[in-house]
Amino acid sequence: MDDDDRVFKALADSTRRHLLDRLFERDGRTLTELESELEMTRFGVMKHLRVLEDAGLVVTRREGREKLHFLNAVPIRLIHDRWIDKYTEHRVAALAGLKRELEETG
């Protein structure tokens, strides 16, 4: 499994996307805080966080006695650059051309 596979697999689950959304709202949370917002066992949340961490979407840091979870959007940016831009580039260019044409004639 390569890096992109791990990211797509991690994102292909609504609970894991929900965890990323929670971290997007407020970054740097403990397992206990994240667990309190989900109807799931601590073990279940840990398992999902592990998948997100393996994909690089979550990074952990120790601060004192606490282990904090941070959202890392770099893999999403890399996928965007590799998979999204490539397929949308000429569509955007076509629209920009249309806009220019309409504005010149209008």
Binding site: G28, G56, V59, R61, N72, I76, R77
Partner: protein
């Protein structure tokens, strides 16, 4: 209390197929930074107590102001950060950026950027949260493919 500290820290990380020395050069030399750091030319000697400054590519405008706090080439660079590109971020106090470079297995190196001390710099925090993923994605692409993003190997 701890909520404040948590909010005040952002962490970004990426694995790059390059040596720590190449990554060190890429983050401290303007000929590299202009290719992935929103076009900005970073100027620093990497020596503690000296400036860490980001300019526009043509050096006409200073974008980021800072000073090196700690340096251990090619493993660690820590500097202060005040973004001048926006009047609101320029009015906020200095925050702190730490670049950690750790060799990992299989010829790859883990680069981690910790942007902290953002307690009193909410505008800066919002601005850089959108920016760091671009910077690190661009840096990985540059070092692994030898060209900036979006070029696909062709010249612009």
């Amino acid at each position: 209390m701890s909520t404040m500290t948590e909010q005040a820290t952002q962490v970004y990380s990426v694995y790059i197929r390059a040596t720590p020395e190449r990554i060190w050069d890429a983050i401290t030399k303007p000929e590299f930074t202009t290719q992935y750091f929103f076009g900005s030319a970073v100027e620093t000697t990497g020596e503690p107590g000296t400036p860490w400054v980001g300019w526009t590519g043509d050096r006409a405008q200073q974008l980021v102001d800072g000073e090196v706090i700690e340096s251990d080439p090619p493993r660690l660079l820590r500097h202060t950060w005040r973004a001048l590109y926006d009047a609101e971020t320029a009015a906020e106090p200095f925050s702190r950026v730490t670049w950690e470079i750790e060799p990992a297995d299989g010829g790859v190196t883990k680069l981690t950027v910790v942007h902290d001390e953002l307690e009193h710099a909410a505008k800066t925090a919002a601005s850089v949260a959108g920016g760091w993923p671009w910077v690190l994605s661009g840096l990985k692409t540059l070092l692994e493919t030898g060209g900036p993003l979006g070029g696909g190997g062709e010249s612009a």
